[in-house]
């Protein structure tokens, strides 16, 4: 039936169907559209600074925490049964303080401090996972509660003071840009954090989801909890681990954030809008179904690039803090648009991939 329909539809209809059902294709087209738009604006002299490959590359530094937390949300949302993690921003704050103590005050070596911070993040994630998976709390509630708890502890633990001792301030080099070896002079310099944190994380999460039995189990329990249990899968254990991994990623983001600010701030992950909302937005925009079981690493990465390059352009198109205001508009509009599109696609083609 579908084969017959596919033969009959014209080229235009086919392109439309691919764009609507393949989120990756749609995101790629949108990225090209955004970049071309700003290049044209740049050529016309409408921007306050030039929007070129160097600028796009430098702006990638803000993609590091965004994409990593987006991947954390991907894991958690994939696990199904209303999976979501509102506490990632609070974990970033709290783990950042732990990193500040270990590296900035106790004088631990960097590698040990990073391992401690990641482990601490995983522990925070384990609290979420335990509540959600073993006790049966709705994820929204459990992570709302831990959001409040972690946020509060992070602020109280050091009397609201940030830690910015000498070793922490030197960490700022994480967000420096480096020239690539061999062909470096032909392409723009790329922020170091991309290689030290983002790329390894992306590869690790992709391997976890696409190349391990755990990944298949995660998709299985997210798609149908009951069926997975009756097939003998360790449903609770699998879901628990998804929250632990999300916490671990948040712990790593804490290290990146401390480096970026050159200071361990107690409100790093929760100030203003917080980090959890943008991360969930990125995940949904990347085609992760909020009901669980559907979502890919590539979607999250492309969604991050779209938002980062869109935001970078908006900053140049408006003067002063108007830019950051229009970023809110862009994020909100893109999210509502993507959500409505998902609904439309589901009705018209019966599912998105």
């Amino acid at each position: 039936m579908t084969a017959v329909a596919a033969q009959k539809e014209g080229t235009g209809a086919r392109i439309l169907r691919v764009l609507l059902t393949q989120r990756i294709a749609l995101l790629a087209v949108l990225i090209v559209a955004v970049v071309v738009t700003f290049f044209i604006q740049d050529a016309g002299g409408y921007l306050t600074a030039s929007y070129d490959f160097d600028y796009m590359s430098a702006s990638l530094i803000s993609a590091v925490p965004l994409a990593m937390l987006g991947l954390a949300e991907l894991l958690v949302i994939l696990s199904g049964r209303g999976g979501i993690d509102l506490s990632v921003g609070a974990i970033v704050s709290l783990a950042g303080m732990v990193f500040g103590f270990a590296y900035g005050e106790w004088g631990w070596p960097l590698w040990a401090a990073i391992i401690l911070t990641a482990g601490f993040g995983a522990l925070c994630g384990a609290v979420n996972g335990f509540l959600v998976s073993y006790i049966g709390f709705p994820a929204l509630i459990a992570t709302l509660a831990t959001y409040y708890a972690f946020k509060s502890i992070a602020i109280v633990i050091n009397n609201q003071e940030p830690i910015s001792t000498a070793p922490i301030q030197k960490l700022f080099s994480i967000s420096k840009s480096v020239e690539l070896p061999l062909f470096g002079q032909y392409v723009p310099d790329i922020p170091l954090g991309i290689f030290t944190f983002l790329l390894p994380t992306v590869v690790a999460v992709w391997l976890l989801l696409a190349r391990t039995a755990y990944g298949r189990r995660l998709y299985a329990i997210g798609t149908n909890d009951v069926a997975a249990r009756w097939s003998g899968l360790p449903v609770r254990d699998t879901r628990f681990k998804a929250y632990v991994y999300a916490g671990l990623l948040a712990g790593l983001v804490a290290v990146v954030t401390v480096g970026q600010f050159a200071s361990a701030r107690p409100d790093a992950g929760v100030s203003g809008n917080g980090m959890a909302l943008p991360a969930i937005t990125i995940a949904v925009l990347g085609g992760v179904a909020i009901t669980g079981g559907i979502g890919r690493v590539a979607g999250v990465v492309l969604a991050t690039l779209l938002i980062v390059w869109l935001n970078a352009g908006i900053l140049l198109a408006f003067i002063g803090n108007e830019g950051s205001q229009y970023q809110l508009l862009a994020l909100g509009a893109v999210l509502v648009f993507a959500a409505l599109l998902n609904g439309l696609t589901n009705r018209r083609y019966g599912g998105t991939s």
Partner: protein, 330 residues
């Protein structure tokens, strides 16, 4: 015979007071007693009245949020909506020097319009509420910040003092803002429990498909819940302006959506939909605010109260989970 009728009636109608509400009320009494013992200043009018005034906006927005969550939805755009309503109203108070009724009407109308946007997108776009309201939260914040321009709104006149902490905001010692909140909560309690329309919300939250087949106009009812929330958020924004000084800064409404959801959840409303009560929400908001007030009066760091909020959520929902499990296994 009469016992049979009583049982059936009991099954159709939820109990007037749920166990959660009784426990919450008990916890409140114990907490207040403990605070009264440790800081004698706590149980004075000068301490209780500001507490009630501060509870009012959260509890009022919580009435709408409770209905939304009963239908199985959620609204995380409340903080953004409070920002838009309060900055617009504050600007109208400063610029046009509008009177109290006009200011309230304006705020409520703006809130209603924002709620309508949420409602239409969620009910007719058939997208999960949390995604849409995450999106509209960003849009509302954009709107609010644009209206703010740069900086704060200064020199707000005392037109809204009727809702404030001052002597003009009380009748017989009870703050008007709290009184209005209690009245609206009582009306919502009666509507949800004793009218067909109110029961429809529970039906939608229990099983939207079954509700549709039973003749409930699901989309229209869902739209209505977000509209109600918007209208109440509009009124709550007036309380927020009245509470503050004559200055309104850009952090207004920030994080309020989570505070409202926390109050609703502590009050025993199930996030899965189909179960909940506005009375619990009022008690939940009161508990959260009492803890915040107690923490400051004990001289602890004010941010420590967030830790207690987290613990309360875990305990309240955890107790409910255990009770449900025990009932099922019986």
């Amino acid at each position: 015979m009469s016992t049979v009728t009583a049982t059936i009636r009991h099954r159709v109608l939820p109990p007037r007071l749920t166990g959660q509400e009784i426990v919450l009320a008990g916890v409140l009494v114990v907490l207040w007693a403990a605070l009264a013992v440790s800081t004698p200043a706590f149980l004075t009018a000068g301490s209780i009245q500001p507490l009630l005034v501060a509870t009012a906006p959260i509890a009022l927005a919580g009435v709408g949020m409770t209905i939304v969550i009963i239908t199985g939805g959620i609204d995380v755009s409340v903080g953004g909506a409070i920002m838009v309503c309060s900055v617009l109203t504050a600007k109208a108070l400063v610029g046009a020097e509008v009177s109290l009724p006009v200011a309230v009407l304006l705020s409520v109308a703006v809130g209603g319009a924002l709620g309508l946007v949420n409602g239409v997108l969620i009910a007719y776009g058939r997208v999960h509420a949390i995604i849409i309201t995450f999106g509209t939260a960003n849009l509302f914040m954009f709107l609010g910040l644009r209206i703010f321009g740069s900086g704060t709104v200064n020199g707000i006149p005392g037109t809204l003092a009727f809702f404030g902490r001052g002597a003009g905001g009380r009748t017989l010692g009870v703050p008007h803002a709290f009184l209005i909140t209690v009245l609206i909560t009582a009306a919502a309690w009666w509507y949800l429990r004793h009218t067909a329309g109110g029961r429809h919300f529970f039906a939608i939250g229990g099983d939207a498909q079954a509700a549709r087949l039973a003749g409930v106009r699901v989309q229209r009812r869902v739209l209505l819940t977000y509209l109600i929330t918007g209208l109440l958020v509009g009124l709550a924004s007036c309380f927020v302006i009245a509470q503050g000084t004559s200055t309104l800064d850009q952090s207004v409404g920030s994080g309020k959506e989570l505070a409202v959801i926390a109050a609703v959840v502590i009050g025993g409303t199930s996030i899965m939909g189909g179960r909940g009560s506005v009375l619990g929400t009022l008690l939940g908001a009161l508990l959260v605010q009492s803890v915040a007030s107690g923490v400051t009066q004990l001289g602890w760091r004010s941010q420590l109260s967030d830790l207690f909020v987290g613990v309360f959520i875990i305990v309240a929902v955890g107790a409910d989970l255990l009770r449900t499990r025990a009932r099922r296994s019986r």
